[in-house]
Symmetry: C2
DNA sequence: AGAAATTTGTTCGTATGTATA
DNA sequence: TTATACATACGAACAAATTTC
């Protein structure tokens, strides 16, 4: 009759230590951690165990290790999350339709929240972006501004879950689904419709007109497979 | 004039190796990895570096290390993602309202997809769960069946992004936001209303009636702060 | 049941490359 | 340029848990 004894592994002490330090405000992004030797001595463990812990933290996006210089706090989860998402969905078999499906879901849900919470600065950014979008000469530029516009929309929702998911998703798309970025509107006709949709979406946001921006978004979805 | 030479760290070889093996189908969940010593020799690196890589993989949820036994493939991202979400939103300052907001967004978006894609088996599970829910005697049971019902809904949507996010979110709620689990319906009146909402949601799903299930969901949201 | 072999967990020592003053 | 501090990486050893014979 063996009781399942959950032995905590040594390297986790390091993870916990750093996390706690961050939580308590003792460590902030950019700060330098104690050297590995000091850390090892402090926690009463070996340097290898310290390193295993640091590798984990590095991979999570909490720590950045610089050869010869030291270990530093660097909070960039989005990259990490997108990497994880990428691997997850790579294994499960990426279905591009599902990816697009999820993207539009996020934007649809973000919209009403954005209408409620959008700030004057964000409104200005939205109008500026849609203006640049209309003036853009190359397809590259258009893609970039298009992307920015949609990111602004999600950003304005003010819901961190939505925002992080969206960032991770877009980063994921960039990395793993090149084909999506290549689907570009070809006909002049549909491009005009797309610009109209963009403008409607943007103006609706600025005017806090849910129906208007929503119909702009729906048209956007209709006129493009993905972008 | 030094060109920034991006030196790949040794431990990443292990991460790549395992990921590739999984991608190519050479390794599947449950399979045993080569021993650390063999891995080290195979890749021409030290065992310490192998271990650093394995720790990373373990923390991502790709590998499970068993003392004295070996390293095994175990694809359980949900736990990992919830842990990451937990830490992220812990740092950003968890706002319970935002969490709830995100949860209902997922369910709202999952609903129409579930209506389209739900399988007969899932329908049966839904009806069984709602039946158990109505027969349940204790608050504990009700919470459990309630949770199952909503998970079935999201599951039936067939969108892995939604599913993983939902699982991670619920796991996150369990771990970090105890207060939410404690918000239990007290009055008999509202409990009846809640049961009605549940039944409507379930029947709508089974009958593929979007409006019915949607109104059930909306009522559910209305009658409970979170659960 | 028990002993031996296997495998991971952990530590120490050492050498090397890199950054910084 | 030199010296120091630091991360990177390797190898060997022993402990602890598991498997095998």
């Amino acid at each position: 009759m063996m009781e399942r004894q959950e032995m905590p592994k040594t390297y986790k002490q390091v993870v916990r230590f750093v996390k706690d330090q961050i939580r308590d405000g003792a460590l902030s992004p950019g700060d330098k951690l104690p050297t590995e030797r000091v850390l090892a001595e402090t926690l009463g463990i070996s340097r290898n165990s310290v390193r295993e812990g640091l590798r984990v933290l590095e991979n999570i996006g909490v720590v950045s290790s610089m050869h010869g210089s030291g270990n530093f706090i660097s909070l960039n989860f989005d990259e990490t999350m997108s990497e994880m998402l990428g691997f997850m969905y790579f294994l499960k078999g990426v279905n591009e339709d599902k990816v697009a499906e999820f993207r539009w879901m996020i934007e649809r849900e973000a919209l009403p929240l954005a209408i409620l919470r959008i700030t004057p600065e964000e409104k200005q950014a939205v109008m500026h972006t849609v203006h640049c979008l209309e003036e853009a000469q190359t397809e590259e530029e258009r893609l970039e501004y298009d992307r920015t516009l949609h990111e602004l929309l999600v950003q304005a929702s003010g819901n961190d879950f939505l925002i992080s998911n969206y960032k991770a998703l877009m980063s994921f798309i960039d990395r793993y689904i090149q084909s999506m970025r290549k689907r570009i509107i070809e006909g002049m006709e549909s491009r005009n419709m797309l610009e109209l949709a963009h403008r409607k979406l943007a103006e609706g946001l600025v005017e806090c007109d849910l129906d208007k921006s929503r119909s702009g978004l729906e048209e956007h979805i209709g006129y493009t497979a993905m972008f």
